[in-house]
């Protein structure tokens, strides 16, 4: 709606107000984080380094700018939500951050490491759950998780116990030795969480983690993430178009619409910025974008359809 207001919002360092306490989780979580630095050479190990920093991130598919001058600053130990309707550019932003799309230097930094200069070092720090439900249906649940444990160099002596504990944490112990092809959508999503978490990532990136899941499965996914965060101080970067989830689980939120960030703040700040009591994030979004979330944009619901297709195939 009003670009000048938006820029003022995104350029200012985002306010971070004691995020962990709001969840009722371990307040010392963020403090514990530098301790995890031990295995990262390129990381200076200072608590001041943002978990994720995007500076003027641009990505264009031919003529179409899917991500346009996006600035993001994610403090370690927080849950950061990127909100927007389908086609806003969230997934493209995530693909740029996760090194799947080639980006120029200085646009994306993960714990201070430039994604363009050293993508392998960035990948060592990431856990990634894509939007699409994706588990290798030709392997059992346990083998799916063990593969990721191996790819992240979990020593063979500790691998079995660690894989079992990751499966247990997402409630899949009983189904662990079934083929992943027999899993339901909610189970696949939890399996993917176990895959992403088994390497103890410092930054967990979730792209629409609860899309297509029923309310119980949605709550369950967030519960697991909350538990792991409380125990490890892991940073979480999540995209969603469910406003209620963002309100409930995110410390800081950026609203994305038509490739640009329109506003950034804590859920409380964003709601307060409207000046009308009882405002919801839905209202905030409408205020900053002049748009509703249900409106299908240029990209339509292509991504959602492809998710459904996969779910059907995996079944």
């Amino acid at each position: 709606m009003s670009a000048s207001v938006d820029n003022a919002d995104t350029n200012a360092p985002p306010p971070v107000a004691a995020p962990a306490q709001a969840r009722g989780s371990d307040p010392g979580a963020a403090d514990a984080d530098p301790g995890l630095n031990a295995n990262v050479d390129a990381d200076p190990g200072s608590g001041a380094v943002p978990a994720l920093q995007c500076t003027g991130l641009v990505y264009a598919f031919k003529q179409f700018r899917a991500v346009d001058e996006v600035d993001l600053l994610v403090e370690p130990g927080t849950v950061y939500g990127l909100l927007g309707p389908n086609g806003a550019g969230k997934t493209t932003a995530i693909r740029a951050i996760t090194t799947l799309l080639p980006v120029p230097p200085r646009m994306v930094r993960v714990f201070g490491i430039d994604a363009a200069r050293d993508p392998m070092a960035v990948r060592r720090l990431l856990g990634y759950v894509p939007q699409q439900l994706s588990a290798d249906s030709a392997l059992t649940g346990r083998e799916n998780v063990a593969m990721f444990a191996r790819l992240f160099d979990v020593p063979s002596k500790r691998r079995a116990a660690r894989v079992a504990s990751a499966l247990d944490a997402v409630g899949l112990s009983d189904a662990a030795d079934r083929m992943a092809g027999t899993y339901s959508g909610g189970m696949i999503r939890r399996l993917e969480l176990a895959q992403a978490l088994v390497s103890a990532p410092r930054l967990l990136i979730l792209d629409e983690p609860t899309i297509g899941l029923d309310p119980i499965a949605r709550a369950s996914v967030w519960e697991r993430i909350g538990e792991v965060r409380a125990a490890t101080g892991m940073t979480v970067f999540v995209t969603t178009h469910y406003m209620d989830e963002a309100d409930q689980y995110c410390d800081l939120i950026s609203l994305m619409h038509r490739a640009k960030i329109r506003a950034t703040g804590t859920p409380a700040e964003l709601k307060a910025s409207l000046g009308s009591p009882g405002a919801t994030l839905e209202d905030v979004f409408r205020h900053y974008t002049g748009d509703t979330l249900d409106e299908p944009t240029r990209e339509g619901f292509r991504d959602v359809r492809s998710t459904r297709r996969t779910a059907a195939r995996l079944r």
Partner: protein, 274 residues
């Protein structure tokens, strides 16, 4: 959830020291080979059904053409001449559709996730090439046993059989990487399916799998000489039945072609995730 407090259950939360430098590639290749073996173990139907075709080639085509003596193979019976060709051909037929598998994994989101792990692209490709090689080895074993039953006189020298195994793995490695390279260019399963169908028969018929180069028309011979399948067949023939014989050249060509195709496929792989 009610079993133990969170801190005790989260045994996976401890950070891991990740490999860096030269040890990453061999370690990841090993991992992906293990994963491919797990997949083969879970679904063996493909291995059984794939064995039907080469057996028919030997039992029907081979026996018939041995009887009519239409193809000049010197002192060697035609069936003996054919058996190594069928090993190479059946391995290629499996490998040439590996690109479809990698596109399927892309569509299923599995490949995307693997590309975000600290795994060199070459390891992902080599894992697939290895799987193609393992399947081809099982095929080769079936053909060898069946050929022996039909009375084909083959070597029992373990060293030569090891050489056969290496050639078969290199050959299917090359063709699977060729297929995955094409996948990285055309990016869609249907197009790759068409290209796969279009090139398998020309590759097969322009090689020396069925007949010697001397009976081919002049225009075909140069093509035969650049077809890696020719070198695989020649190597297998010279190891198994002791004819032909440019062994060092055969190994060198196949090794070079495999390395080249792994490099090409690794470079093209990220295109699938864009």
């Amino acid at each position: 959830m009610s079993v133990a407090p969170v801190e005790q259950r989260l045994g996976f939360a401890e950070p891991v020291a990740l490999r860096t430098g030269w040890r990453v590639l061999p370690s990841r290749i090993f991992t992906l080979c293990v994963v491919e073996l797990q997949k083969i173990r879970h679904d063996r139907t493909e291995i059984y059904t794939r064995a039907i075709q080469p057996v028919l080639w030997l039992a029907v085509y081979g026996e018939t053409f041995t009887r009519i003596r239409a193809i000049p193979t010197g002192k060697v019976p035609y069936l003996d001449y054919l058996a190594p060709g069928i090993i190479a051909q059946s391995a290629m037929f499996i490998a040439i559709f590996y690109g479809i598998q990698i596109i399927w994994e892309r569509d299923a989101g599995v490949l995307t996730k693997l590309l975000v792990t600290p795994t060199p692209r070459a390891a992902l490709i080599t894992g697939k090439a290895f799987a193609a090689g393992v399947k081809a080895l099982i095929q080769a074993l079936v053909v060898l046993v069946f050929a022996a039953i039909l009375g084909v006189g083959m070597t029992a020298n373990p060293l030569k059989l090891l050489g056969v195994a290496v050639l078969v793995v290199l050959g299917s490695g090359f063709f699977s990487c060729l297929s995955m390279s094409i996948a990285g260019i055309v990016l869609s399963r249907d197009r790759l399916m068409g290209i796969g169908q279009a090139i398998t028969m020309p590759l097969f018929f322009s090689s020396t799998a069925l007949y010697p180069i001397s009976v081919m028309p002049g225009w075909l011979q140069p093509i035969t000489r650049v077809n890696p399948l020719t070198y695989e067949v020649d190597g297998l023939r010279s190891l198994l039945i002791g004819t032909g014989g440019h062994l060092p050249l055969d190994f060198a060509v196949l090794f070079g072609a495999t390395v080249l195709s792994i490099t090409a496929a690794s470079a093209l792989l990220p295109r699938l995730a864009r």
